[in-house]
Amino acid sequence: MPAEASTLPERSPLSLQNRWRERKVISALYGVRCQACGTPQLSQIGQALRVCVNCQARDRFEDYKFSDKKGRLFSYAIDQLQPTLNPPGVNGVVDFEGGGRLICELTDCDLDKVRVGMPVAMTFRKMYQLRGLVNYFWKARPAE
């Protein structure tokens, strides 16, 4: 049964060009690790990272895979307005073992059991479909 449409304004159209450039992030949750300071990092909006968020070294990155890293929930927000296929929108600040942070949607969780410090793992999911394009990306699920 279709969920009631969100009252929030429609999202920006998906860009195939942007998604092609960032295909490694989108399909395998790759980020980068700075070779100067060792900080793992992940773009929050699908942009290439060129300058390190921690030490500002330019273009000294190696690929770093986040999809297999365990994480913990640093904070969360349960959103009644969010346009999601899985309402209400449950969102978390996920801190990965070994470093790096992603703010993303949560899934497969019991609302009453979501808590700060909850262990999570990443899972590849359908986010939404817009103008004929299906958007797949990563969500966090409880891993207790």
């Binding site: 304004p9 999202r11 920006s12 909006i45 699908g46 927000a77 969102n91 703010i103 949607e105 700060v116």
Partner: protein, 396 residues
């Protein structure tokens, strides 16, 4: 590097009625605010030598100001999220300080209610490209992006949800009381703590009355050289500091960010205190207009701006420190919560209230013997943002 302190003065201000202005367009709002500012400064539109307009969604380029029919002068549109109105004032002030014009106009405007939708339009993800998105941002609402702060604040300071929500409710109640004394505010009603606590949840733990009004409105300022200010009026307001401080997603990407403060607020306020020569903001600031887009953010601003010691805003909220009768009244005009938040207008709306307070013209909301006033905006959210911190005073 020179400070802006005492080089520029505000000699006229205007502010439209905020609210659901169904019968008025963006052009009406601009004319309403700008002509009040012209009359307040004792000038006409022909005296304006340059103008800046701040809007996030309500017009491209400075042609947005066409309704004023200023005749072929340099004009520019600026945009810096919720600091947009403040950014227009900063640009006009810098132009005057640079000596390239003597009388400049800053206008902020937003017509949010023409969209027919709830909330604020535009990219759902901060910094996302409205022409085409990667689609990887979760697209949660603005309330959710501030709910992370409340969740973590309650966790770190061991507040039960009921205790935390009761604490935040007192901020909304205060701001509605102030706004109920202000005919230009969007909402005209008082609220009770129980009403706030029992309101429908928008983004847990924030409820409807933890969220500010989404409004139409405009505000405007006329600025000139400080040494010319008394030619316009006997009580000009002098600019003491103008700081903008912008993040680069550090908090969203690195684990050392704690979600119980906003780094942009902390650094931006320290810089403006240094520029204005303020040593102890709690003692020296007479009144402040801060960015209460969500109740939790006003609480965090108390701590970030040094009004309350870190982690101890609760004591000040419960003691009434920030009420009209308190030691440091905050959001005396009702704030974003009650006055409303037309994005591009808000920074200048805040300055309008501080300007009136410092001139002793705030009516039933007047604070006692004010000397320095502060305005503060935060665009973006916990994780990355655009912060403005301005200080003005009534003595040179």
């Amino acid at each position: 590097m020179e400070s802006i302190k005492d080089r520029v003065a505000i000699v006229g201000m205007g502010c439209s009625k905020f609210g659901e202005r169904w019968d008025k367009g963006v052009e009406d709002l601009i004319v309403e605010a700008a002509y009040e500012a012209f009359e307040d400064a004792g000038i006409g539109p022909k005296d304006i030598q340059a103008a800046w307009v701040g809007t996030v969604f309500s017009g491209l380029s400075a042609i947005t100001l066409a309704p004023l029919q200023l005749q072929y002068i340099p004009m520019t549109r600026v945009e810096n999220m919720c600091a947009t109105g403040s950014e227009a004032l900063r640009a006009a002030s810098y132009a005057v300080a640079a000596g390239v014009c003597d009388v400049a106009l800053a206008v902020g405007v937003e017509k949010l209610k023409d969209s027919g939708q709830t909330g604020v339009k535009g990219p759902a993800v901060v910094g996302d490209n409205s022409e085409g998105s990667s689609g990887i941002g979760p697209g949660y609402s603005a309330p959710a992006s501030f709910a992370y702060l409340a969740t973590r604040y309650f966790h770190d300071y061991k507040l039960k949800p009921e205790e935390g929500k009761r604490l935040l409710a007192q901020i909304a109640v205060k701001n509605h009381h102030n706004g109920s004394l202000n005919p230009k505010a969007h909402f005209q009603n008082e609220l009770t703590v129980e009403q706030v606590m029992n309101a429908p949840i928008i983004a847990w733990p924030l409820g409807l009355f933890d969220c500010c009004g989404v409004s139409d409105g405009a505000a405007a300022a006329v600025v000139t050289r400080a040494d010319m200010a008394r030619n316009f009026r006997a009580d000009p307001i002098y600019i003491k500091g103008l700081q903008i401080n912008v993040g680069a997603r550090q908090g969203a990407m690195m684990q050392d960010y704690d979600f119980v403060h906003i780094e942009e607020n902390v650094l931006g306020s320290r810089k403006v205190y240094a520029e204005a020569g303020v040593k102890d903001p709690r003692q020296e600031i007479s009144c402040a207009e801060v960015h209460d887009c969500f109740s939790i953010h006003e609480l965090i601003v108390y701590e970030d701006l040094g009004f309350s010691p870190r982690g101890r805003a609760r004591e000040d909220i419960e003691a009434g420190t920030f009420t009209l009768a308190g030691a440091l009244p905050v959001n005396t005009d009702g704030g974003l919560k009650c006055f409303g938040h037309p994005l591009g207008a808000s920074g200048l709306r805040m300055m309008y209230e501080v300007y009136k307070q410092l001139q002793g013209k705030a009516g039933p909301r007047q604070v006692k013997n004010p000397r320095l006033g502060l305005t503060h905006n935060l665009g973006g959210n916990a994780g990355t943002g655009v912060c403005s911190c301005f200080i003005v005073g009534n003595e040179k």
